[in-house]
């Protein structure tokens, strides 16, 4: 029997924001995956901590200065990030462009701090298990930082080359969502790297 056509979807929009968009779910899926990685790496940190006293073995936790600078800047970056997110949702081209450019610059600054942060760890990955796990945690977060920065850069370049349609604004919003993740994921890692060793004393 022939099917009966009971409706027409051609009037539906062809792009939307947040949970209405397919890409958003994809981003969420990857956030879930990477969040799991962070949680497990954190678990490995505690597991190894329980197996060695003192912690860190050389008794000197990393200097607070750079890591805290990084944390403050990372948290402050949430302000332009939220702003860019709103601009994208409102489909304001100029504000979105500014927001993206700002985020690219902040990301760059963060990566520069991060480069020096590795040196303040005061331990090499091949010194002992403590060194291995703190390098692993910092490296993991750096990978996410760099990845999202490249993504932001691409979007910035694109946004300055073209006018944007709603689907592109939606991409920008998804990128902002991912940046939230990168920022929030940093906080527990910051605590693990800098504060847990101090509290264990």
């Amino acid at each position: 029997m022939k099917p009966r056509i009971v409706g027409d979807v051609s009037s539906l929009p062809d792009a939307a924001f947040s949970h209405r968009s397919l890409i958003w779910w994809g981003v969420l899926g990857f956030i879930l995956i990477e969040g799991t990685v962070f949680v497990l790496a954190g678990g490995a940190y505690f597991f190894l901590m329980n197996h060695s006293t003192p912690w860190p073995p050389h008794r000197v936790p990393p200097e607070l200065l750079l890591g805290t600078c990084f944390t403050v800047l990372m948290m402050l970056s949430e302000i332009p990030n939220v702003w860019a997110d709103r601009a994208a949702h409102g489909e304001h081209l100029r504000q979105t462009r500014i927001g993206l450019a700002l985020m690219t610059l902040i990301g760059l600054a963060l990566m520069v701090i991060r480069y020096f942060e590795f040196q303040t760890l005061n331990v090499s990955w091949d010194d002992n298990a403590y060194g291995s796990i703190v390098w692993a945690l910092l490296f993991l977060h750096t990978v996410h930082l760099v990845t999202d920065w490249v993504d932001t850069l691409v979007l910035t370049v694109f946004a300055h080359m073209h006018d944007l349609e709603r689907t592109h604004f939606s991409d920008v919003a998804d990128n902002c969502l991912y940046w939230h993740f990168v920022a929030i994921a940093w906080l527990p890692i910051y605590a693990l790297l800098y504060w847990v060793p101090r509290m264990m004393k």
Binding site: G7, L12, G26
Partner: protein, 637 residues
């Protein structure tokens, strides 16, 4: 809109739309188009065939091992080769066959069952296949070059660490894990997005076929479980290449960290393989019992519970490591509890058959074989969950018997059932029923002859993973029997291949819905056209195709460019027309770059850094947004 709705579809219009849709969605014959294709059916077909080839290869390894063990003190295979054999057998079966083939079948069926035109992230899907292929080929080339991993599919440290596993063998293994897990994670994300956002209008969560539920739960499990093994294998390869100390007890590391991470993945892995199989079984039982499933809601609950509980019992692989006893008791209880949802599902299937009008064709035979075998495996699983008993049975042939009952019974039997069931949809032709029955009985008898004696061997003291055993321990005749059974399984699989090859050319043409099934994949032609559905089906009940005629559909998706209909996640109300990605060669290049990245970093740790550059370039090319100019051309009439 020219005509008032509702209306009957017009045949002339259908012909015209078919031509246009085929142009929009089709994949040409040129090499470039084949490499660039993002059609989920083509990708899934490649995935299934590749995974099946790995199944056969790993089966050959199993036969070699069985031949070696057929008699005591055998000198056919030296210990180094034997260790590579069982490592590759386990690795291939778990990482390159079981998980990928389940996901591959889902990649084929999920969009069809959802009633949509393509999977949610088609390019990611293509990338996933290439990465999987390259990872599998890499480890097999390494194996054939005598550099196959030799420390077991579980690669326990310190045996797999830098001190006791010299050379690059274990590094290949660790990178193979990275390859396959990247592939599996990508597919999991696609499946979740497809199932939640692309279901046909009206297919609320409560009307979702159980296979979709199974894949949804499985995909979430993949997302939680697979990162653990990626993290673990990264730690391992870092220990081996750049001298980190994650697993070196003298410098603060611990060998048990590996085991925790590995089994946090490894146990859910079993359910990741098993849940899709349950979904397949439900589909087949409904179709062949010709009755809706008994206790649908409980079945869904059982799937979800199994998925959750699966994460609470990894420690039962580690009872012999000297963990505190009280903690172990918790894991005993958790492991046993998983018998409740499994028992419920078994009951529901048999009840459906009992109350239905079953037709005993090959798919259903395999399902019955599944029940008989799997339940036995489940019960020995209950035994292994008991700490004291496990201390006797752990790492013996009893365990080998147990997990082959669970994995072959619980996954391979349903998989063969699925092949017989969906082969007509994949190819347009049915498999031979006569050969199918031979296939089934040979497999069923061969399986039991092979693996039942292993229970006894385990109780009689035979440990796993031994390349030979001494004469006079009473293990000789049972091992010989087991080897004979393995040959029967081999013959049965060979028969299946013959059946598939013959039926591809001479099989009985199937038609759209040869079994009178109720799910949406049977609402389109066999094999489905590149665009899957000309009109998006509307679902009015749990068994979509068993609802009163005529079938209801929607129009309005553009035939001129790639659009899929997104619906709301819970109630499946039409929401947006989402653009679906065009074919692109970049996923292929990205996969090549990724392969270079991973393989180079086996030999040079610095490749972790420089190798990421080509990948980044390829990814940017792949993800580069479509400029507005093109978008506007597309939406113009």
């Amino acid at each position: 809109m020219t005509t008032a709705l509702p209306r009957e579809a017009d045949p002339a219009e259908i012909t015209a739309q078919h031509a246009q849709l085929t142009r929009t969605w089709g994949t040409g014959q040129s090499l470039f188009e084949r490499l660039a294709t993002v059609d989920h059916k083509i990708v899934a077909r490649r995935y299934v065939i590749t995974a099946f080839v790995f199944f056969v290869l790993a089966g050959v390894l199993a036969l070699l091992m069985r031949i070696q063990l057929a008699q005591p003190d055998s000198h056919l295979i030296d210990p180094d080769r034997y260790n590579q054999l069982f490592t590759m057998h386990g690795t291939t079966m778990m990482f390159l066959f079981a998980v990928p083939i389940m996901e591959a079948i889902a990649v084929y069926l999920v969009p069809l069952m959802c009633g949509t035109r393509n999977i949610s992230f088609p390019r990611l899907n293509a990338f996933s296949y290439w990465v999987f292929l390259f990872g599998g080929v890499m480890i097999w080339i390494a194996f054939l070059m005598n550099a196959g991993p030799e420390t077991g599919w579980f690669s326990y440290v310190p045996l797999a660490g830098p001190e006791y596993s010299p050379g690059k063998r274990t590094d290949f293994w660790a990178q193979m894990v990275t390859f396959t897990e990247v592939a599996a994670l990508a597919v999991a994300v696609e499946l979740i997005a497809t199932i939640l956002k692309q279901r046909a209008p009206g297919m609320t969560l409560a009307r979702m076929p159980l296979f979709l539920w199974a894949m949804l739960v499985t995909s979430f499990m993949v997302i939680i479980a697979m990162p653990a093994v990626m993290l673990a294998s990264s730690f391992l390869i870092a220990d081996r290449l750049i001298g980190t100390h994650f697993f070196n007890p003298v410098e603060g590391g611990d060998a048990l960290l590996w085991q925790h991470l590995f089994w946090f993945f490894g146990h859910p892995e079993v359910y990741i393989i098993f849940l899709p199989a349950l979904g397949m079984v439900s589909s087949i039982v409904i179709t062949f019992a010709r009755r809706t499933i008994f206790a649908y809601t409980l079945m869904v609950l059982a799937l979800v519970t199994t998925g959750l509980l699966a994460f609470g019992l990894w420690v039962h692989h580690m009872f012999a490591t000297g963990l505190p006893h009280l903690g172990s008791s918790f894991y005993t209880a958790a492991s046993m509890m998983i018998a409740i949802p499994s028992g419920m599902q078994i009951f529901a299937w048999i009840a459906t058959l009992w109350d239905g009008k079953p037709r005993f064709m090959t798919p259903l035979l395999f399902v019955i074989g599944f029940i008989v075998i799997f339940v036995l495996g489940g019960l020995t699983g209950v035994m292994l969950a008991s700490v004291p008993l496990d201390l006797q049975l752990h790492d013996t042939y009893f365990v080998v018997a147990h997990f082959h009952y669970v994995l072959i019974g619980g996954a391979v039997f349903p998989l063969f059932a699925a092949f017989y069931y969906w082969f007509p949809k994949f190819t347009g032709r049915k498999l031979s029923e006569r050969l199918g029955r031979w296939n089934f009985w040979l497999f069923f008898i061969g399986f039991n002859v092979t693996f039942f004696p292993m229970h006894i061997l385990g109780l009689a003291g035979m440990p796993r993973r031994v390349y030979t055993y001494a004469d006079g321990l009473g293990w000789e005749s049972l091992n010989l029997l087991s080897t004979l059974g393995a040959l029967m399984i081999g013959a049965s699989v060979l028969l299946f291949i013959v059946n598939a090859a013959r039926s591809l050319k001479q099989g009985e043409p199937a038609g759209d819905n040869p079994w009178g099934a109720s799910t949406l994949e049977w609402a389109t032609s066999s094999p489905p056209p590149p665009y899957n559905f000309m009109h998006i089906p509307v679902v009015t009940g749990r068994e979509a195709l068993w609802q009163p005629e005529p079938r209801q559909v929607l129009e309005g998706l553009s035939p001129a460019h790639r659009e899929v209909l997104c619906t709301s996640a819970l109630a499946a109300v039409p929401d947006i027309r989402q653009h679906s990605a065009e074919p692109s060669i970049w996923p292929f290049w990205t996969a090549i770059a990724t392969a270079i990245w991973f393989i180079a970093s086996i030999f040079d740790a610095r490749a972790v850094l420089w190798g990421s550059l080509p990948v980044a370039v390829c990814l940017i090319a792949w993800m580069w947004p479509t400029p507005p100019r093109v978008l506007q051309q597309r939406t113009a009439p």
